[in-house]
């Protein structure tokens, strides 16, 4: 097996899935009509509803859904061998992933631009909206835990990384200043900031610079290093969460985009060149290592939550319904935008799997890189690919880590921003202090640091996937109910919903009672495992309530009662 063959298999999946299955569903079930006015046109208010072209929206949707998830999941799941992960990525996208993303645009579009919060309230039950908010809050907290451990503990503490990350952030601030205050041309701004960002990344790899951080890390010791760098991570997130979005988050994301996009493009070109030279083979990387992986668990259900994004991700439904669905100009654009972006994310997940398999060159190399810091496998793989376009691995590897760090950071400070707004909205009445943005952000960061410092990374990752997949089954349930209500075929969304629901509950039960509980009995990471059990139990209870309400709603719509549950 090699890289190009894997990409060809993924391409065949994409071709059949998009051009046959998806187009067929689009034509026969939703029957888009470009003569109908979409909410973006009908309610154009310049705030929430504004029409945009399909190509622009495709770019927007892809950027909104694709980040560390499709990169991290396949790397972790490669522990079962390359085959299970590859099959789940392709088949998951084929039968479930695009279905959810596409329908999450078209259903809100046909429901006056309602978000999934409003739709769950109307179609399932009033409390379903509350449950969705619980899923969202826990999901975001777990993201902070999972990404925070990787970024704060593994990457930032790498001596070659901090200068590069700091330069990218400073260049982001400069980009904001140049655009909004100095009114400079965007191309000039981009060239200056991106070039300086790359120079900063390179300076960070110089022995004279990195040795200073090595000295700092040695002085801090193992524990001190962990706390110091995770607090630096928290400070960056705090600034990103409380400063105006134009000053920090938006321009930093912009500069980061170029650093990431150029790395990905270089990596893919390097992979193709390497493959044509006869390399980029899987070597002794096994197709299948066994049904159970130590530290993770059994293939079913754990693989299906380990790779969430890249195959199916509930978060996409929220982004699609609240953002993209309100900008669709023509009904027929929903498939290329929603479905197309999901299929592209599948390709990204496959490339990530290739960095773990073809790029590392074998099983032992993968295990060694994985033990050095989970997503670090991606940095090693990317550096190997980039070495075939003439970029030395001494630069490529730290670049890969800076790439992943800024990718994670740009997400985390937006997550903290959301968490502070969520806590102000949900608890601001009872605890007025939470309405203060600084207090809200600090509370969110303290909770995150507790998860980062105490948690077991693989457990947090599985729970993060579990919360995400629960949102996916909720989204699929809403879509199914909408289809039933409107007298359309619904089996193609109902069965994926049932599969995701059962699989996710099984994964949460396994993680809580077969992994975290025995770990507590053995006295390993007691606080982190107690938190994991509590989170898993809350998610399971919410899922059971949701399942009950969902069944009631299904029966209601099957009997032909079309009145919404909410009063």
């Amino acid at each position: 097996m090699n890289a190009i063959l894997t990409l060809v298999i993924a391409g065949v999946g994409l071709g059949v899935g998009y051009f046959y299955y998806a187009k067929n569903i689009n034509k026969n079930v939703f029957q888009p009509d470009d003569q109908k006015a979409t909410p973006a046109k009908m309610y154009m208010d310049g705030v929430d509803f504004t029409p945009a072209g399909k190509n622009v929206l495709f770019g927007y949707q892809f950027k909104s859904i694709a980040a560390l998830g499709p990169i991290g999941g396949p790397i972790v799941a490669a522990q079962w061998g390359w085959l299970p992960g590859l099959l789940w990525i392709i088949l998951g996208t084929f039968f479930i992933g695009w279905v959810q993303d596409y329908a999450s645009i078209i259903v809100p579009m046909r429901s006056d631009g309602d978000t999934f919060g409003a739709l769950s309230y109307k179609l399932i039950s009033p409390r379903a909206r509350g449950i969705l908010l619980v899923f969202i809050y826990l999901y975001l907290l777990l993201i902070m835990g999972a990404f925070g451990q990787v970024i704060g503990i593994n990457f930032l503490s790498n001596p070659s990384v901090p200068v590069g990350v700091l330069t990218v952030i400073l260049m982001g601030l400069l980009a904001g200043q140049m655009t909004y205050k100095m009114k400079q041309d965007i191309i000039l701004t981009t060239v200056i900031t991106v070039v300086v960002a790359f120079i900063g990344i390179w300076i960070g790899t110089l022995p004279a610079v990195s040795s200073a951080f090595t000295g700092l890390n040695d002085a801090l010791g193992a524990n001190g290093k962990k706390y110091f760098w995770s607090i630096i991570f928290a400070i960056i997130c705090y600034l990103g969460a409380v400063l105006p979005i134009w000053r920090w988050a938006q321009p930093t994301n912009y500069v980061s985009f170029w650093v990431i996009a150029l790395g990905m493009a270089g990596g893919v070109i390097g992979m193709l060149i390497w493959n044509l030279q006869g390399g980029a083979n899987f070597g002794d990387f096994p197709a299948f290592t066994g049904w159970t992986v130590a530290g993770l668990g059994p293939l079913w259900p754990i693989l299906f939550v380990t790779i969430a994004c890249g195959a199916i991700s509930g978060w996409h439904s929220l982004v699609s319904s609240s953002g993209t669905a309100r900008q669709i100009e023509k009904e027929s654009d929903a498939l290329p935008v929603g479905g197309g972006a999901m299929w592209m994310e599948m390709v990204l997940a496959v490339i990530s799997l290739l960095t773990a398999t073809a790029a590392t060159g074998g099983w032992d190399a993968y295990l060694e890189a994985y033990s050095g810091g989970k997503f670090g496998v991606f940095a090693v793989g990317l550096a190997n690919f980039l070495s075939h376009v003439g970029i030395p691995t001494t630069f490529g590897q730290p670049y890969g880590m800076v790439f992943l760090t800024i990718m994670g950071l740009t997400i985390c400070y937006l997550v903290v921003r959301f968490m502070r707004v969520a806590s102000a909205e949900l608890l601001g009445g009872a605890v007025p202090a939470l309405k203060n943005m600084h207090v809200g952000a600090i509370v969110a960061l303290i909770l995150s640091l507790i998860v980062i410092w105490t948690g077991v990374w693989q457990t947090i990752w599985v729970l993060f996937g579990g919360a995400n997949q629960m949102m996916a089954s909720l989204a699929l349930l809403i879509i199914t109910l909408w289809l039933m209500k409107n007298g359309k075929k619904y089996a193609w969304t109902l069965w994926p919903c049932v599969f995701m629901y059962i699989t996710t509950i099984a994964a949460l039960v396994y993680t809580a009672f077969w992994k975290a509980l025995p770990a507590i009995s053995a006295g390993t990471k007691v606080t982190g495992n107690i938190i994991a059990i509590v989170v898993a139990i809350v998610l399971i209870i919410c899922a059971l309530i949701l399942g009950y309400d969902g069944l009631q709603a299904l029966n209601r719509y099957r009997k032909g009662e079309v009145a919404p549950a909410a009063k």
Binding site: D45, V56, L68, G117, V415
Partner: protein, 101 residues
């Protein structure tokens, strides 16, 4: 015949470049432009609220000279009312977090 084929290829290349440009725009500065548009929309919404808020039951006494704005406001009234009174929840903010997955 050959010229025609060359023209078609040229046209296709132009089209592909245009599509690629639009996708890149969607991934990069579209968000900035959208953010600015949203800010302007919110200020406009607020302006109409303080001048014609009585239309939605806000107890304000519109000054006489707001009548001069009426011709400009009338076409936007329905859109403004819907935008202002639309029920919102936290899921409306989900799009704030891009690239979470």
């Amino acid at each position: 015949m050959q010229t025609h084929a060359r023209e078609r290829i040229k046209e296709k290349i132009h089209h592909a470049a245009h599509v690629a440009g639009q996708i890149l725009y969607g991934m990069t500065v579209f968000d900035w432009k959208r953010g600015l548009r949203q800010q302007r929309g919110e200020i406009e919404r607020l302006f109409i609220l303080i001048t014609f808020g009585d239309l939605v039951g806000l107890p304000i006494l519109p000054p006489y000279y707001t009548l001069r704005l009426l011709p400009y406001t009338v076409p936007a009234i329905n859109r403004w009312k819907r935008s202002l009174l639309r029920e919102r929840d936290l899921t409306d903010l989900a799009e704030l977090i891009e690239g979470v997955d």
